[in-house]
Symmetry: D2
Subunit: 319 residues, 4 copies
């Protein structure tokens, strides 16, 4: 393979730029040409494609976001546009494609792979919601961002004897809540993987109150069924403790990637290009047991994320 | 004066602990006894009073929140409870009081001052909404916290060609929005001091769009009449640009104080005690033209905050 | 086992407090009594031992350093003092011991284990120099601290077209230099595991200069034979590029632990206590392939750290 | 005036980019042409001059360093080269010049002003060593950077019962040491403005030791006569307390500017251009009593920095 493309797609994640740098420079080191496609799969359909050089990925390793921009594409769900994408790639002579993104982007990639384009997926999403890999690029940064916010919120929460509910990202996967909850010493962690019981929560907060505990920190993934507003109201009504909600939202998506995310992104980006170089397509790169792996792209989309009960129980026990 | 009390009251602010440390250690250096009153004016009514030592304010200079806790007190609005507070202070032999807090706390202090208790107010609030002082303790930290958040949000906002509305604290005073807006390079700054015109805003965003600007950052104080939700909806409807809101909320209240807030708090805390030492009561400490000053407490509450049009215009011009 | 002790020893590392919290709370959850020994093995000899409660490890999860203090003990190298330590432990009725520290501390622990005291080692050191575990507690934080420093140094280094040599910690193990070098986009990484060739380094810097590269970042572990001063002098002499050294030193040891270090510390601390609970002694806890493991303590000290050539080569290739 | 130039010179400082942005955009807003001169006065001599646009200063407000690069120029000390600079400026049709830098850069500017070129100096240096202005751009950021380092160093220093000497920047002016020392709760602050007495220092450390104080933090400006190495040796010899030195060096020069530095830079950059627009030359912009001012450039170089004894005494009293 002599000419490959790379794009970032879906919700952006810190470390996407680091992955991109690794893709471009590994490709160039292997004497390939590397083309950057801006605005993800949508940009591919519009032919937003430009040749990348060694220096076009200089000074981006430590930057959040993605210099290739990202987007979600509705058109790409339709077969005719998927066919069109293949035409575009062929027109540019692009023989293989690296897609840095999450679930939806991988599904788009699979559609291309089924049309004969060698595609390698690199998991870039803060949610850590891909089952085939222990970690996704951006997750470690998001956890540390939330820990920093928790530490600020705790200052004011403690000073005012308040309960605070922090709603973090994670629609189907509670990993950000779980890891930031354990690391931040949250009193309660609510995640989609475990059914939440608001009555039990109120009871525990009350118990703490009677034991002299003056503030509580509850961390909750956005995917938890009970809405944050409702939870705040119920907590305040039942316990009589002033309760506030904080929803950091998009703050979690930004920031300079951590060392670990830069390392992960560099390793995964490099691996993805090597797979294409060896003419392996329809793969997804991951990390498992500390080792960089690759699995079949279709299987990667099928594997459900196992829930780490051990960490959840540890967090509960230590809190 | 041989025995003074100190309390933190109202919304907490980074640097309150630094001010507290200065009050206690300056008092001890002047051979006074210093009593800490926990939970603000509410705690005063309940006799939550304890003697402070040199080491009881050790290792707190850099911590957010307040080790004396804070609270708002409804009882304290009533005359009978204000009388009660005087009784409590006399019972403990406390001859003068330092109140670290904002508007409402100063008003409470004034009630005590009118009952003959020498009271000195130290402005601790992130809002910078006190008219008699150029800066309040906590404001500089809050601005830097918001700048850090803006920088994270910009990463993801740029990557997705989005408009983002960031709603920061400030009910009556737009200073956090103004300073963070200028410092963060916001495209638009909306504050209570200037009437907002959503039509003009939409027009400008559209203009930017046609000129090739792919993302916009709008920073808005919570005191702006138009609700953030409504603004997001209107922007999206009119401009067709995906628009998101971020409301950092209590995150802005926490965090380790900046160097400037520690300095300000140390100078102001020291000044407050010296005023009491010199038997001056009913004063508020401030900073004006780079110098630590004190003004009459009642007047301090009357002086309206002048709006800094020059900075607003500069921010608009540079953005 | 009903009564265990815990101490932190050797150079401190961020996350030691998180490990300590996990040890104490896991122990209490298993109905054990947990005694904290201050100042490491030295403190053990002096009987600096106090009972720990649930709340004595409250609010420490996110703090750098160690609330139990640490120390190195020369006395402990002598057999008679090792015997004395056993006497002390027996006097206090302490049946098992968790030692949080590095190489030297584990060696001390082994001396006690050989005298019949069940000892479990928890790897707390920023150096990542223990062969039996993929990661030590504190390493991830140190890498991120160095990345933050690199980012600051790069600002000024770039502005002045300078070469900068950053000397980071790591006497025998170059992992901090390696991971921070890859993550920070260093132009050159010098580590004890790979022989350094100053002539080649100068040649490469000169090559870069002629290709228009105006600044270079060289990251070097302290264990590299060539001294930093000499390297700076030679670089300046040969290349004519202004060269500066930065030695962050103890800055690398402090700071709030990252999410990953808190997680690692919590898991390892919990595991250590469970081993003692199950009457397993003379073990060292580690992480291998993403799983918490334990190995024989003596073996743990024997296993040499394998050098990760793959990461080194990737760093060289991407720079 | 229709065409102005701008350059950054001397040691770089966080906020130089923010000042540059304000210069360029204010100039363009006033319908002037703005030319950027790279590599300071040295680059001026070599004709490194390029036209700046609105977007050439986009996305730089929050970046450390200077996109125009900086340099020191020995040639510029000679009259013939100063004449040459005037020729260059005239060739480019540049009628006025903004110089962002410190003492030396202002002296260079004065040489040009004396040759008839309207020059305005903007104080960009972390040292805060210019007498005519209360603050220089970069100082606030440097203080906060040092505070962050102190907080990390304190973690490990406390854990090991050590004394630590931190040597910060400041050859003639101890302001970084003074402000970071007060804000960081240093036990001792040594600055060039106050004669240091190592015997007294040892005595005080010993006193603290006997009172149970287990660690000491000494912050010292680089301009203090006694070398840091010697101080460490003496302290260790006399007190028997393990003592370590940390020299953060160039770390203090980098980093994203604080809100205050961005504000100061924006105000000062804007003011500088307005002066040129009004045909006022040979001025230096500053801040005094909270207001942006300008003074005669020659006088600005003559005014000695007054030493703030009040802050020093407060720091000593509170520590």
């Amino acid at each position: 393979m002599k000419r490959i493309g790379v794009l970032t797609s879906g919700g952006d994640a810190p470390g996407m730029n680091a992955a991109l740098r690794a893709v471009v420079r590994t490709g160039l080191s292997l004497d390939m040409e590397v083309y950057g496609i801006t605005h993800g799969l949508a940009g591919l359909l519009d032919g937003e494609i430009e040749k990348m050089t060694w220096s076009s990925v200089g000074d981006i390793l430590h930057r959040g976001g993605t210099i290739l921009y990202s987007a979600r594409s509705k058109r790409f769900l339709e077969e005719k546009w998927q066919d069109h994408a293949v035409t575009i790639l062929k027109t540019f002579g692009i023989e293989g494609l690296v897609i840095i993104g999450g679930n939806g982007s991988f599904a788009g990639g699979l559609a291309l792979a089924k049309r004969g384009i060698p595609v390698v997926g690199v998991p870039g999403t803060i949610d850590n919601d891909l089952g085939y890999t222990d970690f996704t690029i951006g997750f470690d940064t998001a956890v540390n961002t939330v820990l920093d916010l928790i530490s600020k919120i705790r200052d004011t929460s403690t000073s005012h004897d308040r309960a605070t509910v922090i709603e973090v990202m994670g629609r189907h996967c509670g990993d950000i809540a779980l890891h930031a909850g354990l690391g931040g010493g949250a009193d309660f962690i609510l995640i989609p993987e475990i059914e939440s019981d608001i009555r039990k929560l109120c009871m525990e907060v009350l118990k703490g109150k009677h034991a002299g505990k003056r503030h509580s920190l509850i961390i909750k993934a956005e995917g938890v069924e009970l809405s944050t507003d409702e939870m705040v109201r119920t907590l305040e009504d039942v316990t009589g403790i002033e309760t506030r909600a904080v929803v950091p939202g998009y703050i979690q998506r930004g920031g300079s990637p951590t060392g670990r995310d830069r390392m992960l992104a560099s390793l995964m980006g490099g691996k993805a290009v090597r797979l294409l170089y060896d003419d392996e397509g329809s793969r997804a790169v991951g990390i498992s047991g500390g080792k960089i792996i690759s699995v079949d792209l279709e299987e990667a989309l099928r594997i459900e994320r196992p829930f780490n009960k051990e960490i959840f129980d540890l967090a509960v026990m230590l809190s």
